[in-house]
């Protein structure tokens, strides 16, 4: 009986190395999920980020129509990649409102002129306050918001072609 005990430490060691080896083979989840899904977006009121579009306030998200809330920035490279797919969502009838993070009006205008403007409203979030209040940790992120300003879904990273039907589906479920 006593003899068997001496294998204990080796067994423990193998168990830990096995665990570490297993974890190394697992894909790393680097996304920080918002824990605000199912909760209402807190109050906010942002000035317009672009002269051609009004700013964005909480009342605009509570007008009864489900929307996509796209958090983006003109300095964000993946936002360029996602622009055509936001355009596709827009053509399919999705209403998209934008929150521009730490951006200048001139840069916003240049970006929209180059990559298209799928937004009905764009608020300027200079201190990332709205971004923090909805639990977003980067750009771009897209939230599906129902007609009462409740967050239904968070899409982290750029919207790609394969995400368009999924986002339209979420909007339809919300009654768009």
């Amino acid at each position: 009986m006593n003899k068997l005990w001496i294998w204990g430490p080796l067994g423990l060691f193998l168990m830990f190395s096995g665990l570490a080896a297993y974890q190394l083979t697992q894909p790393k989840d680097e996304f920080v999920q918002s824990t605000m899904i199912g909760k209402p977006i807190p109050d906010f009121d942002l000035r317009p980020a672009h002269q051609d579009r009004p700013g964005l306030a909480i009342a605009d998200l509570k007008d009864g129509k489900p929307k996509l809330l796209n958090i983006w920035a003109s300095w964000c490279v993946p936002c360029i990649a996602e622009a055509p797919h936001l355009e596709a969502l827009n053509r399919a009838g999705a209403e998209i409102v934008g929150v521009a993070i730490r951006d200048r009006p001139a840069d916003v205008a240049r970006f929209l002129a180059q990559h298209g403007n799928p937004y009905t409203r764009i608020g300027a979030d200079d201190l990332s306050e709205v971004q923090l209040s909805v639990g977003s940790s980067g750009v771009p992120e897209t939230f599906v918001v129902d007609g009462n300003g409740i967050i239904l879904h968070q899409h982290i990273g750029d919207v790609r072609a394969e995400h368009v039907p999924m986002l339209l589906q979420k909007l339809a479920e919300a009654g768009a």
């Binding site: 999920q33 605000m36 201190l127 923090l132 639990g135």
Partner: protein, 136 residues
């Protein structure tokens, strides 16, 4: 060969400024301390235990990421407005989960971390007592 390396290095130098992007100045309270030392101390203590969401494995007090600056502004302005540090932490945890806080908490998933060392201490104590008891 040397020329080739130099050419690549200088090309890298030319390319680099393109990645310097965000031109907006940092948030007012990102690098500015609060005038009340007690409030600043409370803010600093809290900021050291909040995770930078962009850079990860760094606190917002340690990070120069613009978003960490905005989080510091959030912390300092709320403390200046009289909010309790733990209320600010709770506000962030409500949005990002426990992940955003470095402060250890006992929860459904973390209780073994606190229980196992205690258990090991007790087992070690029992073993030592038995051995010492045998000898004497």
């Amino acid at each position: 060969m040397m020329r080739f390396i130099l050419a690549i290095l200088s090309a890298a130098l030319i390319v680099m400024p393109a990645s310097a992007q965000q031109t907006l100045p940092p948030a007012p309270l990102a690098y500015e301390q609060l005038s009340d030392p007690a409030q600043e101390e409370a803010a600093q203590a809290l900021m050291e235990t909040l995770r930078c969401l962009k850079c990860q494995s760094q606190s917002i007090a340690d990070s120069d990421a613009p978003m960490a600056g905005d989080m510091r502004h959030q912390v300092r302005s709320r403390i200046a407005a009289g909010e309790e540090p733990e209320a600010i932490r709770a506000w962030l945890v409500e949005r990002y989960g426990d992940y955003v806080s470095y402060a250890p908490t006992v929860s459904n998933t973390t209780w073994p971390l606190f229980a196992i060392p205690l258990l090991l201490l007790i087992v070690a104590g029992v073993i030592i007592r038995r051995r010492v008891g045998k000898r004497s």
